[in-house]
Symmetry: D3
Subunit: 235 residues, 6 copies
Amino acid sequence: MRILLANPNATAAITDTCAALARAVASRGADIVPWTNAGGPAVVDSFYNDYLAGAALCRGLSALDARPDAIVLAGFGNYGTAAVKEMLDLPVLNMAEAAMACAVPLCHRFAIVTTSPRMIAYTEDVVQTFGFAARCVTVRAVSLPPIDGPAPSDDEVVQRLAAETERAHASAGADLVILGGSRLSPYAAALRRRTSLTVVEPVACSVTLAEAFVRTGLAQSKVGKFAPPPGFASP
Amino acid sequence: MRILLANPNATAAITDTCAALARAVASRGADIVPWTNAGGPAVVDSFYNDYLAGAALCRGLSALDARPDAIVLAGFGNYGTAAVKEMLDLPVLNMAEAAMACAVPLCHRFAIVTTSPRMIAYTEDVVQTFGFAARCVTVRAVSLPPIDGPAPSDDEVVQRLAAETERAHASAGADLVILGGSRLSPYAAALRRRTSLTVVEPVACSVTLAEAFVRTGLAQSKVGKFAPPPGFASP
Amino acid sequence: MRILLANPNATAAITDTCAALARAVASRGADIVPWTNAGGPAVVDSFYNDYLAGAALCRGLSALDARPDAIVLAGFGNYGTAAVKEMLDLPVLNMAEAAMACAVPLCHRFAIVTTSPRMIAYTEDVVQTFGFAARCVTVRAVSLPPIDGPAPSDDEVVQRLAAETERAHASAGADLVILGGSRLSPYAAALRRRTSLTVVEPVACSVTLAEAFVRTGLAQSKVGKFAPPPGFASP
Amino acid sequence: MRILLANPNATAAITDTCAALARAVASRGADIVPWTNAGGPAVVDSFYNDYLAGAALCRGLSALDARPDAIVLAGFGNYGTAAVKEMLDLPVLNMAEAAMACAVPLCHRFAIVTTSPRMIAYTEDVVQTFGFAARCVTVRAVSLPPIDGPAPSDDEVVQRLAAETERAHASAGADLVILGGSRLSPYAAALRRRTSLTVVEPVACSVTLAEAFVRTGLAQSKVGKFAPPPGFASP
Amino acid sequence: MRILLANPNATAAITDTCAALARAVASRGADIVPWTNAGGPAVVDSFYNDYLAGAALCRGLSALDARPDAIVLAGFGNYGTAAVKEMLDLPVLNMAEAAMACAVPLCHRFAIVTTSPRMIAYTEDVVQTFGFAARCVTVRAVSLPPIDGPAPSDDEVVQRLAAETERAHASAGADLVILGGSRLSPYAAALRRRTSLTVVEPVACSVTLAEAFVRTGLAQSKVGKFAPPPGFASP
Amino acid sequence: MRILLANPNATAAITDTCAALARAVASRGADIVPWTNAGGPAVVDSFYNDYLAGAALCRGLSALDARPDAIVLAGFGNYGTAAVKEMLDLPVLNMAEAAMACAVPLCHRFAIVTTSPRMIAYTEDVVQTFGFAARCVTVRAVSLPPIDGPAPSDDEVVQRLAAETERAHASAGADLVILGGSRLSPYAAALRRRTSLTVVEPVACSVTLAEAFVRTGLAQSKVGKFAPPPGFASP
C-alpha cells in the first residue's frame, strides 16, 4: 500500500519531519511516499497563501507519475482539499479533518492550538468547513516565528503549547488538544509529558486513517460534491 | 494487537457475522477477539433494551480475563458507550461514532439507514449525542422483521436498502450512506453494487480506526467526561 | 391523583427528602408515593452509574403493584428516561427536563449548578439530549463529598452554591439557576435568600408539572420515539 | 389563587371560550379571571396587529384593579410578552411558550398548526424567540376565514387540522402537534379523536403551568432581561 | 430620491442628530426627510417601550402625507420593524439589520456595544430575530444616563466605548464593533480614533443601503412574512 | 469613485455583461472599471476551478496599475475572497455575500438558484462560509450547458429559473430568490416578470453596497482575519 504524504507548502524540511512521524505509525505494508508542493508558498500562514498553495497542489497532484493508494494532505488548513477530492478517485484525506474525526470519539470538547494568533480565525473557518464546530470549544495560538526566522528552543515551544493547553482546559473545558499546524507536530511527544489532556497529532491520525480507508475500500463519494470537475481528465 | 469486538446484544450469530467482517479488514498483526454481551437483550431495538444492554455491557466488560489493546463496541447505538469509556483506560470505540467520523471527510452530507421506523428517533439522538448532527442529513429505515422472525431474502433486504439510499440522495441530497445496525452490515457489499453512493459499513470502520488508535497511542481523554467513575476499581 | 416519585438511586434518605419537597407543593388531591430504585447505585455520579441506575429503574418500574397517574423521575440526569417513557403509557417526567421546561419562560439564559466538576460534561449532555441547549448558558459545579463521606455544613454548601450562581451571572449572563442534583434540592430555600437570581428547584417543578399533565390528560406521544418496545408487555 | 387569563385580542367571545377551557383544567382553588384586551385588534393575524395588541396589552395590564397571583397570556404569539414580564413581578406566562415547554418532554419533535398560511413565518419567529426551535420540526397552517367572516363547520375545521397533523407526521416526523392559535383551541378534543399523535392545547397547558408556578413560588427573573423598565412605576 | 429617516422614539434631538449623520453620507440625489415618532416613548430602553414605540410607529407611518422612496427606521432595536414591512410596499430598512448586514462581509466576528447593561438581553434577541447570531460574538454595554439626565462628557462616553471595544476584541475575538443605539452614533468618529477595530455606525449604513435598494429596485418580499396585514388598506 | 468590477473567471463576455448590469445601477459619480481574471479558468464550476481562479485573482489584483476605491468580486462563489481581503486595505466585496447581506432584511427565508446540480454542495458551503446559513432555506439548480456549448434560448433559461423559484417557494417556504451565478444575472429582469418572489441580482447588490462602503468609509477590518499576509507587500 502506497500512501502519498503531500505537504501543501514548499518547505522540504517540513515534509521530511512529517514523513518521519508518518512512518513511525504506518503499518508494515504501508509505504509512505513524501511529496512536497514545490510550486506552493514556504508556509500556509494566511488565506492568501492558502490559495496559492491550493492551486499549486491541484496542478502538482494532477501530474503524479504513479498512482498511490491514498493521499494524505499534510497541512492543517483547507488549501483546496475539496478540489483534490474532486480531481481524484482515490481516497484523499486532509490531516486537519482526520485529526478532528479522531478527536470526536476521544473527548467531550476539543481545543486546537495553532501557530500564530492571526491563524485563529482561519482555523475557526477550517473547523466550520470540515463540519466539526459542534465539538471544537476553542482555538488558541502560540506564536511561532516566521519559518525563515530564528527557531525558538524546543523547550520554549513545548512550554507555550502546554500553557495554551492548560488555558483551553481551565477556561473552556477542553479535555483534548489538537496540534493545529505541521510545524507543531514534532512537539507532540514532549507535550504529552507536560499535560494530562489527550494530545492529537494530525500526521499520525491521517496516515493511519488513510490506511483504514484503503483497507476498507472507502474513498470520497463521487456522486455529488466531489464529482470530477467538468472537462477534467482524471490523471 | 488484540481488539475486542464487543457485541452489545446477546445474539452470538450477530457477533460471528461482525467478527467475520472485522477480520476481513484487520491488518496482519491484529487479532479480533469476539465477545457477546450474554447478559444483554437479543437485540437493541428500543431505549429500553439500550439500557438493559448497557448495564450488562458495563458489568461484562469490567470482568474481562485479559486486557485487550482496544475495544470496539459493535452495535449502532448508544447503550452506555460513555460508561465503558469511563471505566477503562484503553481505547473504546463505538461503531456508530467510528462510522460517522469516517463518513465526514468522505461526503457532503450523509444519511443513515436503520433497521425499523421506530429506530429513527433513537438514531437521531445517537447522531446528536455523538456530535455529528451538522453533517447527517436524514435518517431513514428499512423494516427488518424481529430477530427471531422469518428472515427476508438477502435480495429483498438489499433492494429495500437501495431504495432508501436512493430516496436519501434524491430528496435530501445525501451522497453517502451509513448502514445503521449490525444486522445490516452483511449487506454492504451487495448494496455497493446497486448504488453509486459511498456505502459505509461500521464494523470495518471501527476496527480499522481502533487499530489506528492503538498504533498512534490514542485513547479517550481521562481528564474530564471519561474520568473513572468515583470509587470504581479499574479492572 | 397518585404521583409516583421515583428516585433513580438506591439511597432512601434522598427519596425521603425529595418526597418532603414534593408534598410541600403538591395540591390537595395529589398523593405523593415515594419509590426508591433499590436495585440501582447509591448515587448517579457517572455515566457508569447512569446505566446501572437506568436498567434497574426499568426493571423496577415495570413491576409496580399499582398504576399511578404519573411518574416523576427524581434525579437530575438521564438514567433511561426515554426507556421508561417507552415502557409506560402514563405521563413520565424527568425532573431535569421539567426544571428546564419551567426555566425557559422565566429567564433569558439559565445556568445549572451540579454536584461535582466531573458531572459538568454529563450534565451538558443531559441538556442537549433533552433539547434545551439554546437557553442553557453554562453548567457549573460545587463539590459535594461522596454520599457516604462526611457531610459539609449546610452553610458551606449554600455559600458555594451562591458563589457559583454569582459567577454564572457575572461571567455568562445567566439570570436563573437550576439546582442540578437531588442532593442540592434541599438548599433551594436558603440559596434564594442569598441571590437575586431566580432559583429553580427541580423536584417542585416536576411534581407540579406532572399534576398539570394529569389534569390536562397529556402524556408522552406513543406514535414514535416512545412507542412500546417491541415485544414488551406493558405492565 | 387568582389567575388572570388575558386574551391579547379584543374579541370577547374568544376570551369566553378560553376561560371555559381554563376552568375545565384548573384545580379547585384556582379562580380563572377572564380579561379581554379591549384596546387591541379583533385578532392577532399579522405583525402589525401583534404590535397594536401588545401596546394595548401593556397599558391594560398596568391598570388592573386587583393583583392576581399569575397572568396567562392567552394568545399564540408574541404581542409584547417580554414587556409584560418586565412590567410585573408576578408570574407571567404566554400560552405559546407554555405549550412548547410542555411539549418538549412529551415528544421527539413537535409540529405547530396555525390559523392561516400567512402566520407560518410569524409563528416560526415565535418559536425561535421563545427558544424552542431545536424541537419544532414544522409549522403548518389551516385556513380559518377572517374572524368576522362566515364560520366553517366544526367538522370541516377538525378535518383540516387532522390532515395537517397527518402531513406533519408523515413528511416531517412530528409525533406531537400544538394548536397554534386560540381560535383552534376548542377543536382539541375532536382532533384527539382523529389522530394518534399527542395534541397539545395551549390554554390548558398555560393555566396548569401557571398554577405550578404559583404553588412553587416561581416567577420570571427580575435581574436581567425582565427587570422593570427604567422609570416604570410597578402597578 | 426621498428617504424617510424615521426615529422610533419621540426625542426630536435624536432625530436631528441622525439626520445630520445621514446627510453626511447620502448621495447627491438623495433627500433625507427626518421624521420623529411623536406618539412613541422618549427612548426605547425596554421591551415595554419597544412595544409602545412600535404601535405608535405603525400608526404614524400609515398616515404619511407623501410616499417616500424608502424608509429607514433609525433605532437599534426591533419596535415593530416586521409590522412596518408588512404595511408598506416600499423598502423598509431597520438600522440594526442594515448595520449587521454590512458588518458580516467586513469581519470575522462582530460585537455590539449597547447603551445600558439592561439592554444586553434585548439586543441579543434583536440579533437573533434579524438572523445574524452566527457572526455576533458578544453584546456589551456602556452605561448612558437616562435621556433626561445630565449628559456625560463626550470624552467619557468615547473612553467607555473604547474600553468595551477593547474587551470585545481581547476576550471574545471581535474584529469589528457596531454602535448599538442611536444615542451612540455621534461618537463613531471619535471612537475610530481610539481603536483599530472597524467601527460600524448604523445610521450611515442604513441610509446608504436604503439608497442601494431604491437604485436596484429591491424591497421586502410581499409574498410571505411581509404580505399586507389582512384588511389593511395600504396608505 | 472608481469601483473595480473583477470577474474571477477569464471569460470577457461575462465581464462585459456584469459591467452593463453594474452601470445600470451605479450612481452618477461612480465609475465601473471592468477587470477580467485573465489567468483564471473560463468559468468557476468546481472547487478545482475555484482554487485556480483564486490564485490567479490574488496575483492579478496585487498588480493593479491604479488603486480603485473599492473592488467588487463578480462571481457567485468563494475563489479566494478572504485572501483578497487580506491583501488589500480598500473595501473588497464578493457579490455572493453582498447578495445575501441584502436579502436578509428583505425576506423570511431565501433560496439560491445555481447553474448546475453539481454546484449545489459548493454553494451550500459558500453560504456557510459567508455566515448566512440561518436564513438560506434551500439551494436549487438549473442546468446551464458548458460555457462553450450551445446556449439555450433566453426563454428556456427563464422558464427553468421560474420553475425552480416556484419549487423553492412551495416546498421550502422561500419568499426571495438569489441568482447564484454571474451567468444567471442577465435573466433577473425577465424572471421578475414571471414570479412574485423578490429576485436578488448580485451584481447590482454588490456594486451599490460597495458604493455604500466607500461613502461611509468602511472596509474589512484589518485587525484579525483580514490582516495583511505575513511578508506581503501591499500594492
